[in-house]
Subunit: 501 residues, 2 copies
Amino acid sequence: MLEGIDLGKKFTKEEYKSIMPDLQLKLAALQRKAKEKDIPIIIVFEGWDTAGKGALINELVTTLDPRGFYLHASRDKSEDDKDKPYLWKVWPKIPARGRMTIFEKSWYNGIINSELKGNNDIDWVDTAGHLNNFERQLHEDGYVIIKLFLHIGKKEQRKRLEALQEDPDTSWVVTKDMVKRHKKYDELVEIYEKVIEKTDSGHAPWTVIEATNHNFAKIKIFNTIIEAIEKMITESDMHKIEKASGIEVLSNSDKPDLSQKLVSSILDNADLTKTVEYEEYNAELNKMQKRMRELQLELSQKRIPTIVVYEGWDAAGKGGNIRRLARALDPRFYHVIPISAPTQTEKAHHYLWRFWLSFPENGYLTIFDRSWYGRVLVERIENFCSSDEWRRAYSEINDMEEQLTDAGANILKFWLHVDKETQLQRFEERVNNPEKSWKITDEDWRNREKWDLYKDAVDEMLFRTSTTNAPWTVVESNNKYYARLKTLSTIIESTEKRLGK
Amino acid sequence: MLEGIDLGKKFTKEEYKSIMPDLQLKLAALQRKAKEKDIPIIIVFEGWDTAGKGALINELVTTLDPRGFYLHASRDKSEDDKDKPYLWKVWPKIPARGRMTIFEKSWYNGIINSELKGNNDIDWVDTAGHLNNFERQLHEDGYVIIKLFLHIGKKEQRKRLEALQEDPDTSWVVTKDMVKRHKKYDELVEIYEKVIEKTDSGHAPWTVIEATNHNFAKIKIFNTIIEAIEKMITESDMHKIEKASGIEVLSNSDKPDLSQKLVSSILDNADLTKTVEYEEYNAELNKMQKRMRELQLELSQKRIPTIVVYEGWDAAGKGGNIRRLARALDPRFYHVIPISAPTQTEKAHHYLWRFWLSFPENGYLTIFDRSWYGRVLVERIENFCSSDEWRRAYSEINDMEEQLTDAGANILKFWLHVDKETQLQRFEERVNNPEKSWKITDEDWRNREKWDLYKDAVDEMLFRTSTTNAPWTVVESNNKYYARLKTLSTIIESTEKRLGK
């Protein structure tokens, strides 16, 4: 693919002078317009050494309003990050709505280098899949993604390297790694082709920039960016018209999902009569907490991160359950993250962004009191997101969890289940007990009215996101003692397995 | 001071059993109450090895709602942080309103270790001063700060170390550093005394916890925390009553500040007729941009961070001025941070918190388009903060900037000054030019009406925060060419000085 490209294309100085000023004005205006419309933009620069990346980025950004963009220069992974999920460092850098981020080298750099070294420390087919999912998610969330590959031929690269080396003012620019990569040009061209091919998509296409002629490269870069932003502005306007005219309501995705309805309810099958007496509970709890503490020490020494997700009905006993788990843990190595409605800043990003920021460091255990599953529960029921959005969340979430487990994390997810009568009893208890009345709000009663809607959503969630690497456990919680022991024993068992016991 | 303390105090098992349950209930209830009232709480644990810090923290946090606190275990400074300001890593960890953060070891650990090693890598008198200011700022912003020092005697420590070493299950706990520190007990006691003495204050007092007897230590810790939170809740209620009854308006701090009025206006003395012709401007600009680029390369190689602050009248030409500076820079090593009204999350923290998060890494240059000076400008004029708050901001800001420059940063601050007539001309130009009309808002006109109030605020700001290490430069900006050259040449000069040229 790269081989067939005509690298001789160019613009003369006169052509350049007649075309460029218009492009610059247009781009500056589009940057403002995208900001007004809250459109986030990501621009990725990849390509050969000496293809002119630095200079071209420079010329691009001096056209832009410097207050509107953020440039991330590449940095090699530090030792600390090596066993983190591949996209761990990328998520925090994703721009908020209305902002632009330019990546000089990017999430592609890692797989390319790993392939070139041939050390297989990254499973590149898996990783390419995650990158595609990642870009698709952002695209579906309204991001413009522009990926530019700056291409020059082998001879041209040699010429440029030699020119740099000959001039004493620039010879320091040419590093040993650059010379090594030049020697491997033929090998590298195949890697680039492979990566570009596997990660080229309608929502985040690659554009090869023929970079032999600087003027040509610059004009093509400006033009590519302008077209991509214009396209998104049009789409965003269209989308608003469609929304206003109610077209979205008629879309396919809102048809009832028959296959789902044919699945029997997982919740209906839970045996809520399970119970345990206090004496037994107390003895078992002490034993399990002791065991958990031992295991946590080992997790911490072996630097394995653990993620525990708590979801469940209001008044199912989440708080007390978490407290019993927390008491078993060394407080220096765990954190409880309570999740409530997203803040302004969080809303200005992709909905998964805030969770990426709070996943545990290696050796730590993080308990999420509610989680990213809010997307397919409360956000679905209360129409805080569109049906397209919550429908695609299942695979987005599965993909995210797979990235975490691939990188070594252990994930456990609990649905604390009670029946409707038990919930009512507990609500009334709270209302009548002044020490507990702070626990109950009007919202709890409103949610209760939507019990059946929630039940369907929970069943679908359990069905679609219970994966081998990150399974759900339904915890029968009519009896709180039973529930606490089941949660703790599930974590113990899973941890033992993870530790190879 | 530590020497005089009676370390024989204790509670019997019976006493403990009769006291503790009440304290636990009380603390849990206070945690909830503090959350409701949006009171942020900081608890610091320092003290001798084997004094029982880990166990006591554990028993404390198991009483708390795990969703309401965050525990930071100490970590040694990584290589990356060594030349950062001392409080660089602390600011991001400060809890938001209504949250509680417990520090196992804290910002005191660094100075104590540095003193013990005797390597003088931290100027401890300066640092203690910064810590006091830091804690005072937080206190004045409504934070509860509880500092606990767990104290045991030398003999007791030896006994405990020996007991740990003898048991094969616990011998690994005793590190070489612990043994070394035990041998230096007498030296260390003097360091602790010195540090406690210098950083004990009404707003963030130290409490020495006699930790020979575990029951005694635990009860005293619970009691200390309970009293501190109760005190703050009372103060916060009182404050609301005072506010409602208008008492604050009569406070001293609202008297006109005579000494300030006697100072002649810095702005009035600016010569706004200064001007430069386009030809000269263009030639000079090119020369200066080239020079700036060379200097930036050196800054980046020598890993010196640079902070450039832009403040100024609306329409004084901030945007264009920043653009000319940005064009002189390698985009990989600078960032422009536009500052607007704080977000929800930012408002839930101390007003300086968000700036600490965006200061440059070593070798980078960060341009702030508006800044922390908003506190004494717009927030003062628009009553977004109380008069006490903006009045104390001057010294808070001076202290923050001193910490940054002490750690090696170069700080430049520009006030872009135009007269009222020039502003009016530019406003009208914007209104009449459809390509520029997006630049002007109703707020600009409203601000203009408050010109005289702003002028006083600017003069006071220039007077109070122009320090040797972080000076203000008033940039006469009626002529934009002149202004751009003055800014750039000021940065060049200051950078050359910083680089020892």
